[in-house]
Protein backbone atom coordinates (compact mmCIF):
# COMPACT_ATOMS: atom_id res chain seq x y z
CA UNK A 1 0.00 0.00 0.00
CA UNK A 2 3.01 2.26 0.28
CA UNK A 3 4.64 4.20 3.05
CA UNK A 4 4.11 7.71 4.34
CA UNK A 5 6.57 10.44 3.43
CA UNK A 6 7.21 13.59 5.36
CA UNK A 7 9.42 16.47 4.27
CA UNK A 8 10.20 19.20 6.77
CA UNK A 9 11.81 22.44 5.72
CA UNK A 10 14.03 20.89 3.07
CA UNK A 11 16.47 23.36 1.51
CA UNK A 12 19.29 22.80 -0.91
CA UNK A 13 22.14 25.07 -1.86
CA UNK A 14 24.53 24.43 -4.71
CA UNK A 15 27.96 26.04 -4.97
CA UNK A 16 28.30 28.65 -7.72
CA UNK A 17 30.90 28.29 -10.43
CA UNK A 18 33.35 30.43 -8.45
CA UNK A 19 33.21 27.73 -5.68
CA UNK A 20 32.87 30.45 -3.04
CA UNK A 21 29.27 31.63 -3.04
CA UNK A 22 26.20 29.41 -3.20
CA UNK A 23 22.73 29.73 -4.65
CA UNK A 24 19.57 28.28 -3.24
CA UNK A 25 17.80 25.74 -5.45
CA UNK A 26 15.16 24.68 -2.95
CA UNK A 27 13.85 26.66 -0.07
CA UNK A 28 11.83 25.42 2.89
CA UNK A 29 9.98 22.56 1.24
CA UNK A 30 7.53 20.89 3.61
CA UNK A 31 4.75 18.49 2.79
CA UNK A 32 3.35 15.12 3.79
CA UNK A 33 2.35 12.28 1.56
CA UNK A 34 -0.04 9.68 2.93
CA UNK A 35 0.63 6.04 2.18
CA UNK A 36 -0.52 5.27 -1.36
CA UNK A 37 -0.95 8.88 -2.36
CA UNK A 38 0.06 10.03 -5.85
CA UNK A 39 1.61 13.49 -5.82
CA UNK A 40 2.86 15.39 -8.86
CA UNK A 41 5.52 18.06 -8.67
CA UNK A 42 4.93 20.53 -11.45
CA UNK A 43 6.77 23.71 -12.38
CA UNK A 44 8.98 25.26 -15.00
CA UNK A 45 12.47 23.90 -15.55
CA UNK A 46 15.07 24.94 -13.03
CA UNK A 47 12.67 24.99 -10.09
CA UNK A 48 14.47 22.15 -8.34
CA UNK A 49 11.82 19.43 -8.78
CA UNK A 50 14.35 16.84 -9.90
CA UNK A 51 16.75 17.82 -7.13
CA UNK A 52 13.96 17.40 -4.60
CA UNK A 53 13.15 13.96 -5.97
CA UNK A 54 16.82 12.99 -5.70
CA UNK A 55 16.92 14.22 -2.11
CA UNK A 56 13.85 12.15 -1.24
CA UNK A 57 15.59 9.10 -2.68
CA UNK A 58 18.84 9.86 -0.86
CA UNK A 59 20.86 10.38 -4.03
CA UNK A 60 21.59 13.88 -2.81
CA UNK A 61 21.61 15.32 0.67
CA UNK A 62 19.61 18.36 1.66
CA UNK A 63 21.57 21.33 2.96
CA UNK A 64 19.01 21.54 5.76
CA UNK A 65 15.71 19.95 6.69
CA UNK A 66 14.68 16.31 6.94
CA UNK A 67 12.99 13.64 4.85
CA UNK A 68 11.20 10.91 6.76
CA UNK A 69 10.16 7.80 4.87
CA UNK A 70 8.11 5.15 6.65
CA UNK A 71 9.11 6.66 9.99
CA UNK A 72 12.87 6.66 9.32
CA UNK A 73 15.06 9.52 8.09
CA UNK A 74 16.42 9.10 4.57
CA UNK A 75 20.22 9.03 4.42
CA UNK A 76 20.97 7.10 1.26
CA UNK A 77 19.06 5.15 -1.40
CA UNK A 78 17.48 1.95 -0.16
CA UNK A 79 15.19 -0.65 -1.66
CA UNK A 80 12.13 0.72 0.06
CA UNK A 81 12.08 3.43 -2.62
CA UNK A 82 12.61 3.05 -6.35
CA UNK A 83 13.54 5.61 -8.97
CA UNK A 84 12.51 5.96 -12.61
CA UNK A 85 14.75 8.22 -14.70
CA UNK A 86 13.73 10.55 -17.49
CA UNK A 87 16.32 9.13 -19.88
CA UNK A 88 15.68 5.52 -18.80
CA UNK A 89 19.33 4.98 -17.75
CA UNK A 90 19.36 1.32 -18.62
CA UNK A 91 22.67 -0.52 -18.57
CA UNK A 92 23.58 -1.18 -22.21
CA UNK A 93 25.50 -4.36 -21.33
CA UNK A 94 22.46 -5.95 -19.71
CA UNK A 95 19.54 -7.49 -21.53
CA UNK A 96 15.95 -6.46 -20.77
CA UNK A 97 15.66 -9.26 -18.22
CA UNK A 98 19.02 -8.47 -16.60
CA UNK A 99 18.23 -4.77 -16.38
CA UNK A 100 14.95 -5.49 -14.61
CA UNK A 101 16.76 -7.86 -12.24
CA UNK A 102 19.42 -5.30 -11.31
CA UNK A 103 17.92 -3.98 -8.07
CA UNK A 104 16.98 -7.49 -6.94
CA UNK A 105 20.54 -8.70 -7.54
CA UNK A 106 22.02 -5.86 -5.54
CA UNK A 107 19.51 -6.51 -2.76
CA UNK A 108 20.67 -10.13 -2.74
CA UNK A 109 17.39 -11.87 -3.51
CA UNK A 110 17.87 -15.59 -4.12
CA UNK A 111 18.01 -16.51 -7.76
CA UNK A 112 14.75 -18.43 -8.07
CA UNK A 113 12.73 -15.72 -6.39
CA UNK A 114 14.41 -13.09 -8.54
CA UNK A 115 13.64 -14.89 -11.78
CA UNK A 116 10.04 -15.26 -10.74
CA UNK A 117 9.65 -11.55 -9.96
CA UNK A 118 11.43 -10.48 -13.13
CA UNK A 119 9.27 -12.74 -15.24
CA UNK A 120 6.08 -11.37 -13.75
CA UNK A 121 7.33 -7.79 -14.25
CA UNK A 122 8.09 -8.51 -17.90
CA UNK A 123 4.52 -9.70 -18.34
CA UNK A 124 3.15 -6.74 -16.39
CA UNK A 125 4.80 -4.07 -18.55
CA UNK A 126 4.13 -5.98 -21.78
CA UNK A 127 7.66 -6.97 -22.76
CA UNK A 128 7.17 -10.72 -23.27
CA UNK A 129 9.37 -11.93 -26.08
CA UNK A 130 11.92 -9.16 -25.55
CA UNK A 131 13.67 -10.65 -22.49
CA UNK A 132 16.95 -11.20 -24.29
CA UNK A 133 17.11 -7.94 -26.21
CA UNK A 134 19.69 -5.30 -25.37
CA UNK A 135 18.45 -1.76 -24.74
CA UNK A 136 19.74 -0.41 -28.06
CA UNK A 137 17.66 -3.01 -29.87
CA UNK A 138 14.30 -1.76 -28.55
CA UNK A 139 12.37 1.51 -28.87
CA UNK A 140 12.41 4.37 -26.37
CA UNK A 141 8.93 3.49 -25.11
CA UNK A 142 10.00 -0.09 -24.46
CA UNK A 143 13.17 1.08 -22.78
CA UNK A 144 11.12 3.11 -20.34
CA UNK A 145 8.91 0.08 -19.72
CA UNK A 146 12.09 -1.68 -18.68
CA UNK A 147 12.99 1.30 -16.47
CA UNK A 148 9.59 1.12 -14.78
CA UNK A 149 9.71 -2.66 -14.41
CA UNK A 150 13.19 -2.39 -12.86
CA UNK A 151 11.73 -0.02 -10.25
CA UNK A 152 8.53 -1.99 -9.60
CA UNK A 153 10.41 -5.30 -9.34
CA UNK A 154 11.67 -4.17 -5.94
CA UNK A 155 8.06 -3.94 -4.75
CA UNK A 156 8.95 -0.57 -3.24
CA UNK A 157 6.69 1.38 -0.90
CA UNK A 158 7.62 4.64 -2.58
CA UNK A 159 7.95 5.24 -6.30
CA UNK A 160 9.88 8.28 -7.48
CA UNK A 161 9.47 9.16 -11.15
CA UNK A 162 11.42 11.94 -12.80
CA UNK A 163 9.53 12.93 -15.96
CA UNK A 164 9.27 9.29 -16.97
CA UNK A 165 7.39 10.08 -20.18
CA UNK A 166 9.37 13.23 -20.98
CA UNK A 167 11.64 11.69 -23.58
CA UNK A 168 8.88 9.87 -25.48
CA UNK A 169 6.82 10.88 -28.50
CA UNK A 170 3.14 11.75 -28.02
CA UNK A 171 1.63 8.42 -29.06
CA UNK A 172 4.05 6.25 -27.11
CA UNK A 173 3.59 8.53 -24.14
CA UNK A 174 -0.20 8.19 -24.23
CA UNK A 175 -0.06 4.40 -24.38
CA UNK A 176 2.50 4.09 -21.63
CA UNK A 177 0.59 6.51 -19.39
CA UNK A 178 -2.52 4.35 -19.60
CA UNK A 179 -0.59 1.18 -18.89
CA UNK A 180 1.18 2.69 -15.92
CA UNK A 181 -2.05 4.14 -14.54
CA UNK A 182 -3.58 0.69 -14.74
CA UNK A 183 -0.61 -0.95 -13.04
CA UNK A 184 -0.65 1.58 -10.20
CA UNK A 185 -4.40 1.18 -9.82
CA UNK A 186 -3.79 -2.48 -8.92
CA UNK A 187 -0.83 -1.88 -6.64
CA UNK A 188 -0.97 1.64 -5.24
CA UNK A 189 2.31 3.12 -4.09
CA UNK A 190 3.20 6.40 -2.55
CA UNK A 191 4.37 8.17 -5.67
CA UNK A 192 6.17 11.42 -6.35
CA UNK A 193 5.98 12.30 -9.99
CA UNK A 194 7.93 15.13 -11.58
CA UNK A 195 6.46 16.55 -14.77
CA UNK A 196 6.06 19.62 -16.95
CA UNK A 197 2.84 18.34 -18.33
CA UNK A 198 -0.37 19.59 -16.66
CA UNK A 199 -2.67 17.00 -18.29
CA UNK A 200 -0.44 14.20 -17.12
CA UNK A 201 -0.31 15.63 -13.60
CA UNK A 202 -4.09 15.91 -13.35
CA UNK A 203 -4.75 12.48 -14.83
CA UNK A 204 -2.47 10.69 -12.38
CA UNK A 205 -2.50 12.70 -9.17
CA UNK A 206 -4.33 12.95 -5.90
CA UNK A 207 -2.48 16.18 -5.25
CA UNK A 208 -0.35 18.51 -7.36
CA UNK A 209 2.40 20.60 -5.81
CA UNK A 210 2.97 23.66 -7.96
CA UNK A 211 6.55 24.92 -7.77
CA UNK A 212 7.88 28.41 -8.25
CA UNK A 213 11.46 29.24 -9.17
CA UNK A 214 14.40 31.14 -7.73
CA UNK A 215 14.50 29.62 -5.25
CA UNK A 216 12.39 26.52 -5.86
CA UNK A 217 9.47 26.45 -3.43
CA UNK A 218 5.90 25.21 -3.24
CA UNK A 219 3.46 27.85 -4.43
CA UNK A 220 0.30 25.87 -3.96
CA UNK A 221 -0.83 22.41 -2.94
CA UNK A 222 -3.68 21.57 -5.33
CA UNK A 223 -6.05 18.70 -4.58
CA UNK A 224 -7.41 16.80 -7.58
CA UNK A 225 -11.02 15.93 -6.78
CA UNK A 226 -11.54 13.44 -9.64
CA UNK A 227 -12.81 9.99 -8.67
CA UNK A 228 -10.85 6.83 -9.43
CA UNK A 229 -10.45 4.73 -11.48
CA UNK A 230 -10.04 7.42 -14.10
CA UNK A 231 -10.39 7.07 -17.80
CA UNK A 232 -8.14 9.36 -19.76
CA UNK A 233 -10.70 10.52 -22.33
CA UNK A 234 -13.47 11.01 -19.79
CA UNK A 235 -11.15 12.88 -17.45
CA UNK A 236 -10.07 15.19 -20.22
CA UNK A 237 -13.64 15.92 -21.25
CA UNK A 238 -14.81 16.79 -17.71
CA UNK A 239 -15.49 20.26 -16.38
CA UNK A 240 -13.30 19.69 -13.31
CA UNK A 241 -10.37 18.92 -15.58
CA UNK A 242 -10.78 22.17 -17.50
CA UNK A 243 -11.08 24.19 -14.29
CA UNK A 244 -8.03 22.55 -12.72
CA UNK A 245 -6.01 23.03 -15.85
CA UNK A 246 -6.99 26.69 -15.96
CA UNK A 247 -6.02 27.10 -12.31
CA UNK A 248 -2.64 25.38 -12.73
CA UNK A 249 -1.94 27.41 -15.81
CA UNK A 250 -2.63 30.70 -14.03
CA UNK A 251 -0.33 29.67 -11.15
CA UNK A 252 2.46 28.65 -13.50
CA UNK A 253 2.23 31.68 -15.78
CA UNK A 254 2.23 33.98 -12.75
CA UNK A 255 5.47 32.29 -11.65
CA UNK A 256 6.96 32.57 -15.10
CA UNK A 257 6.37 36.31 -15.22
CA UNK A 258 8.41 36.89 -12.09
Amino acid sequence: MGAALELTNVSKQFPDKDQVSTHEVLSGISFKAKAGEFISLIGSSGCGKTTLLRIVHGLETATSGTVICDGRPVVHPDHNRAFVFQHFNLFPWRTVRENIAYGLEVRGDPRGERDYHVQSMIALVGLRGYEKFYPHEISGGMQQRVGIARALALAPDVLLMDEPFGALDAITREKLQRDIAEILEDRPKTTLFVTHNMDEAIYFSDRILVFGTKPGRIVEDVVVPLARPRQADLVRASREFAELREHLWSLLSREMQK
Binding site: L59, A82, N89, F91, W93, E105, R150
Partner: protein, 257 residues
Protein backbone atom coordinates in the same frame (compact mmCIF):
# COMPACT_ATOMS: atom_id res chain seq x y z
CA UNK B 1 22.30 -12.83 -55.79
CA UNK B 2 24.40 -14.81 -58.22
CA UNK B 3 25.69 -11.54 -59.62
CA UNK B 4 26.71 -10.44 -56.12
CA UNK B 5 28.49 -13.75 -55.47
CA UNK B 6 30.27 -13.46 -58.77
CA UNK B 7 31.34 -9.91 -57.90
CA UNK B 8 32.63 -11.03 -54.50
CA UNK B 9 34.57 -13.87 -56.13
CA UNK B 10 36.05 -11.51 -58.68
CA UNK B 11 37.09 -8.98 -56.05
CA UNK B 12 38.67 -11.71 -53.91
CA UNK B 13 40.56 -12.96 -56.93
CA UNK B 14 41.62 -9.37 -57.61
CA UNK B 15 43.01 -9.00 -54.10
CA UNK B 16 44.86 -12.32 -54.25
CA UNK B 17 46.40 -11.54 -57.63
CA UNK B 18 47.45 -8.11 -56.35
CA UNK B 19 49.40 -9.69 -53.46
CA UNK B 20 50.82 -12.38 -55.73
CA UNK B 21 51.88 -9.68 -58.16
CA UNK B 22 53.68 -7.77 -55.42
CA UNK B 23 55.52 -10.94 -54.36
CA UNK B 24 56.55 -11.68 -57.96
CA UNK B 25 57.67 -8.06 -58.42
CA UNK B 26 59.80 -8.36 -55.28
CA UNK B 27 61.32 -11.66 -56.48
CA UNK B 28 62.10 -10.30 -59.95
CA UNK B 29 63.49 -7.00 -58.63
CA UNK B 30 65.85 -8.89 -56.29
CA UNK B 31 67.08 -11.16 -59.05
CA UNK B 32 67.62 -8.30 -61.50
CA UNK B 33 68.70 -5.15 -59.60
CA UNK B 34 68.78 -5.42 -55.81
CA UNK B 35 71.85 -7.09 -54.27
CA UNK B 36 70.85 -9.97 -51.89
CA UNK B 37 72.66 -8.51 -48.84
CA UNK B 38 70.44 -5.44 -49.27
CA UNK B 39 67.09 -7.16 -49.70
CA UNK B 40 66.88 -10.91 -50.28
CA UNK B 41 64.18 -12.30 -52.60
CA UNK B 42 61.16 -14.04 -51.02
CA UNK B 43 62.34 -17.42 -52.33
CA UNK B 44 65.59 -17.28 -50.35
CA UNK B 45 63.75 -16.06 -47.24
CA UNK B 46 61.45 -19.05 -47.59
CA UNK B 47 64.50 -21.30 -47.96
CA UNK B 48 65.98 -19.86 -44.75
CA UNK B 49 62.60 -20.39 -43.09
CA UNK B 50 62.59 -24.07 -44.05
CA UNK B 51 66.18 -24.54 -42.84
CA UNK B 52 65.58 -22.95 -39.44
CA UNK B 53 62.32 -24.83 -39.09
CA UNK B 54 63.90 -28.20 -39.89
CA UNK B 55 66.86 -27.66 -37.58
CA UNK B 56 64.42 -26.87 -34.78
CA UNK B 57 66.06 -23.52 -34.15
CA UNK B 58 63.01 -21.47 -35.09
CA UNK B 59 60.68 -23.43 -32.83
CA UNK B 60 63.04 -23.22 -29.85
CA UNK B 61 63.58 -19.48 -30.22
CA UNK B 62 59.89 -18.89 -30.82
CA UNK B 63 59.16 -20.80 -27.62
CA UNK B 64 61.63 -18.61 -25.73
CA UNK B 65 60.05 -15.42 -27.04
CA UNK B 66 56.54 -16.67 -26.40
CA UNK B 67 57.25 -17.66 -22.81
CA UNK B 68 58.78 -14.26 -22.02
CA UNK B 69 55.95 -12.45 -23.77
CA UNK B 70 53.21 -14.42 -22.06
CA UNK B 71 54.73 -14.20 -18.57
CA UNK B 72 55.68 -10.53 -18.80
CA UNK B 73 52.47 -9.44 -20.42
CA UNK B 74 50.17 -11.36 -18.10
CA UNK B 75 51.96 -9.87 -15.11
CA UNK B 76 51.63 -6.40 -16.65
CA UNK B 77 47.96 -6.99 -17.40
CA UNK B 78 47.14 -8.16 -13.90
CA UNK B 79 49.12 -5.53 -12.03
CA UNK B 80 48.29 -2.76 -14.50
CA UNK B 81 44.55 -3.35 -14.31
CA UNK B 82 44.58 -3.54 -10.51
CA UNK B 83 46.47 -0.28 -10.19
CA UNK B 84 44.47 1.31 -13.00
CA UNK B 85 41.14 0.50 -11.34
CA UNK B 86 42.44 1.68 -7.96
CA UNK B 87 43.68 4.98 -9.39
CA UNK B 88 40.52 5.37 -11.46
CA UNK B 89 38.32 5.03 -8.39
CA UNK B 90 40.33 7.22 -6.02
CA UNK B 91 40.95 10.90 -6.51
CA UNK B 92 43.76 10.91 -3.96
CA UNK B 93 45.64 8.14 -5.76
CA UNK B 94 45.16 9.93 -9.07
CA UNK B 95 46.63 13.11 -7.68
CA UNK B 96 49.58 11.31 -6.05
CA UNK B 97 50.54 8.86 -8.78
CA UNK B 98 49.48 10.51 -12.04
CA UNK B 99 52.74 12.40 -12.63
CA UNK B 100 54.85 9.24 -12.22
CA UNK B 101 52.61 7.07 -14.35
CA UNK B 102 52.51 9.66 -17.11
CA UNK B 103 56.25 10.23 -17.01
CA UNK B 104 56.98 6.51 -17.11
CA UNK B 105 54.52 6.02 -19.95
CA UNK B 106 55.90 8.89 -22.01
CA UNK B 107 59.50 7.79 -21.48
CA UNK B 108 60.90 5.22 -23.93
CA UNK B 109 61.29 2.51 -21.29
CA UNK B 110 63.55 0.43 -23.53
CA UNK B 111 66.23 2.98 -22.63
CA UNK B 112 66.28 1.25 -19.24
CA UNK B 113 67.57 -2.02 -20.73
CA UNK B 114 71.19 -1.60 -19.54
CA UNK B 115 69.93 -0.80 -16.05
CA UNK B 116 67.68 -3.85 -16.03
CA UNK B 117 70.64 -5.99 -17.05
CA UNK B 118 72.64 -4.61 -14.13
CA UNK B 119 69.77 -5.33 -11.76
CA UNK B 120 68.63 -8.71 -13.02
CA UNK B 121 71.24 -10.10 -15.38
CA UNK B 122 70.61 -11.48 -18.84
CA UNK B 123 68.22 -14.31 -18.14
CA UNK B 124 64.52 -14.98 -18.24
CA UNK B 125 63.62 -12.75 -15.29
CA UNK B 126 65.38 -9.72 -16.79
CA UNK B 127 63.47 -10.10 -20.05
CA UNK B 128 60.18 -10.69 -18.28
CA UNK B 129 60.77 -7.60 -16.17
CA UNK B 130 61.50 -5.50 -19.24
CA UNK B 131 58.40 -6.74 -21.01
CA UNK B 132 56.38 -5.91 -17.93
CA UNK B 133 57.98 -2.48 -17.65
CA UNK B 134 57.31 -1.56 -21.26
CA UNK B 135 53.61 -2.47 -21.24
CA UNK B 136 52.60 -1.88 -17.59
CA UNK B 137 52.16 1.89 -17.69
CA UNK B 138 50.09 2.02 -20.84
CA UNK B 139 47.77 -0.60 -19.34
CA UNK B 140 47.49 1.42 -16.11
CA UNK B 141 46.64 4.54 -18.07
CA UNK B 142 44.06 3.00 -20.36
CA UNK B 143 42.39 1.19 -17.45
CA UNK B 144 42.35 4.35 -15.37
CA UNK B 145 40.93 6.38 -18.26
CA UNK B 146 38.28 3.74 -18.86
CA UNK B 147 37.19 3.79 -15.22
CA UNK B 148 37.21 7.58 -14.96
CA UNK B 149 35.22 8.07 -18.14
CA UNK B 150 32.31 5.83 -17.27
CA UNK B 151 29.21 7.97 -17.91
CA UNK B 152 27.96 9.44 -14.66
CA UNK B 153 24.43 8.24 -15.43
CA UNK B 154 25.54 4.62 -14.92
CA UNK B 155 27.06 5.37 -11.54
CA UNK B 156 24.02 7.40 -10.54
CA UNK B 157 21.63 4.64 -11.59
CA UNK B 158 23.64 2.00 -9.78
CA UNK B 159 23.55 4.12 -6.63
CA UNK B 160 19.81 4.67 -7.02
CA UNK B 161 19.39 0.89 -6.96
CA UNK B 162 21.41 0.51 -3.81
CA UNK B 163 24.85 -0.45 -5.19
CA UNK B 164 27.79 0.21 -2.92
CA UNK B 165 31.47 -0.27 -3.65
CA UNK B 166 31.70 -3.97 -4.54
CA UNK B 167 28.50 -4.19 -6.60
CA UNK B 168 29.43 -0.90 -8.23
CA UNK B 169 32.78 -2.35 -9.26
CA UNK B 170 31.66 -5.76 -10.46
CA UNK B 171 28.26 -4.92 -11.91
CA UNK B 172 28.84 -1.46 -13.38
CA UNK B 173 32.42 -0.24 -13.60
CA UNK B 174 33.96 -3.41 -15.01
CA UNK B 175 31.30 -4.15 -17.66
CA UNK B 176 31.10 -0.50 -18.71
CA UNK B 177 34.87 -0.36 -19.07
CA UNK B 178 35.44 -3.66 -20.93
CA UNK B 179 35.63 -2.15 -24.45
CA UNK B 180 38.23 0.35 -23.19
CA UNK B 181 40.08 -2.37 -21.26
CA UNK B 182 40.46 -4.33 -24.46
CA UNK B 183 41.69 -1.29 -26.38
CA UNK B 184 44.27 -0.89 -23.61
CA UNK B 185 45.24 -4.54 -23.80
CA UNK B 186 45.82 -4.21 -27.53
CA UNK B 187 48.05 -1.20 -27.00
CA UNK B 188 49.94 -2.86 -24.14
CA UNK B 189 50.43 -6.07 -26.07
CA UNK B 190 51.98 -4.26 -29.02
CA UNK B 191 54.37 -2.57 -26.61
CA UNK B 192 55.12 -5.82 -24.81
CA UNK B 193 56.15 -7.46 -28.08
CA UNK B 194 58.55 -4.57 -28.74
CA UNK B 195 59.86 -4.99 -25.19
CA UNK B 196 60.54 -8.72 -25.63
CA UNK B 197 62.38 -8.25 -28.90
CA UNK B 198 64.50 -5.36 -27.64
CA UNK B 199 65.38 -7.32 -24.52
CA UNK B 200 66.36 -10.35 -26.59
CA UNK B 201 68.42 -8.30 -29.00
CA UNK B 202 70.26 -6.63 -26.17
CA UNK B 203 70.86 -9.67 -24.02
CA UNK B 204 71.53 -11.75 -27.16
CA UNK B 205 71.13 -15.20 -25.61
CA UNK B 206 67.92 -16.56 -27.05
CA UNK B 207 64.62 -15.77 -28.71
CA UNK B 208 63.51 -14.31 -32.03
CA UNK B 209 65.17 -11.00 -31.19
CA UNK B 210 68.43 -12.89 -30.68
CA UNK B 211 68.01 -14.49 -34.12
CA UNK B 212 67.65 -11.03 -35.66
CA UNK B 213 70.86 -9.84 -34.02
CA UNK B 214 72.78 -13.01 -34.73
CA UNK B 215 72.01 -13.21 -38.44
CA UNK B 216 72.24 -9.43 -38.86
CA UNK B 217 75.78 -9.46 -37.44
CA UNK B 218 76.75 -12.29 -39.78
CA UNK B 219 75.12 -10.63 -42.83
CA UNK B 220 72.78 -13.57 -43.45
CA UNK B 221 70.07 -11.14 -44.48
CA UNK B 222 67.60 -13.76 -45.69
CA UNK B 223 67.80 -15.39 -42.23
CA UNK B 224 67.15 -12.03 -40.54
CA UNK B 225 63.79 -11.93 -42.28
CA UNK B 226 62.64 -15.24 -40.79
CA UNK B 227 62.13 -14.00 -37.19
CA UNK B 228 60.83 -10.68 -38.53
CA UNK B 229 58.09 -12.37 -40.53
CA UNK B 230 57.28 -14.65 -37.60
CA UNK B 231 57.01 -11.62 -35.27
CA UNK B 232 54.71 -9.86 -37.71
CA UNK B 233 52.57 -12.99 -37.90
CA UNK B 234 52.44 -13.21 -34.09
CA UNK B 235 51.19 -9.67 -33.71
CA UNK B 236 48.59 -10.03 -36.46
CA UNK B 237 47.41 -13.25 -34.86
CA UNK B 238 47.21 -11.74 -31.35
CA UNK B 239 45.31 -8.72 -32.61
CA UNK B 240 42.79 -10.88 -34.40
CA UNK B 241 42.37 -12.93 -31.22
CA UNK B 242 41.72 -9.79 -29.21
CA UNK B 243 39.17 -8.50 -31.67
CA UNK B 244 37.41 -11.83 -31.54
CA UNK B 245 37.36 -11.89 -27.74
CA UNK B 246 36.09 -8.32 -27.68
CA UNK B 247 33.14 -9.33 -29.80
CA UNK B 248 32.50 -12.28 -27.50
CA UNK B 249 32.81 -10.24 -24.31
CA UNK B 250 30.69 -7.28 -25.40
CA UNK B 251 27.72 -8.64 -27.33
CA UNK B 252 25.79 -5.44 -26.54
CA UNK B 253 28.28 -3.43 -28.58
CA UNK B 254 27.69 -5.42 -31.72
CA UNK B 255 26.14 -3.33 -34.44
CA UNK B 256 26.26 -0.20 -32.34
CA UNK B 257 28.06 2.86 -33.57
Amino acid sequence: MIQAMRNAAYSRMGVISFHAGLLILWEVACREFIPPYFLPPPSSIFQAFVVTLKSGELIIQLGQTASVLVTGFLLALLSGMLLGVAIGMSRTLTRLLDPYINAMNAMPTVALVPLVVIWLGLDFQAKVFLTWLVSFFSIVISTQTAVQNIPHAYIDTARAFGSRRIAMLTKVIVPAAIPFFIAGIRLGLARALVGVVVAEMFTALSGLGYMVTLYGNTFKVNYVFVPIVVLAAISVFLNAGLKWSERRLTPWNRGRT
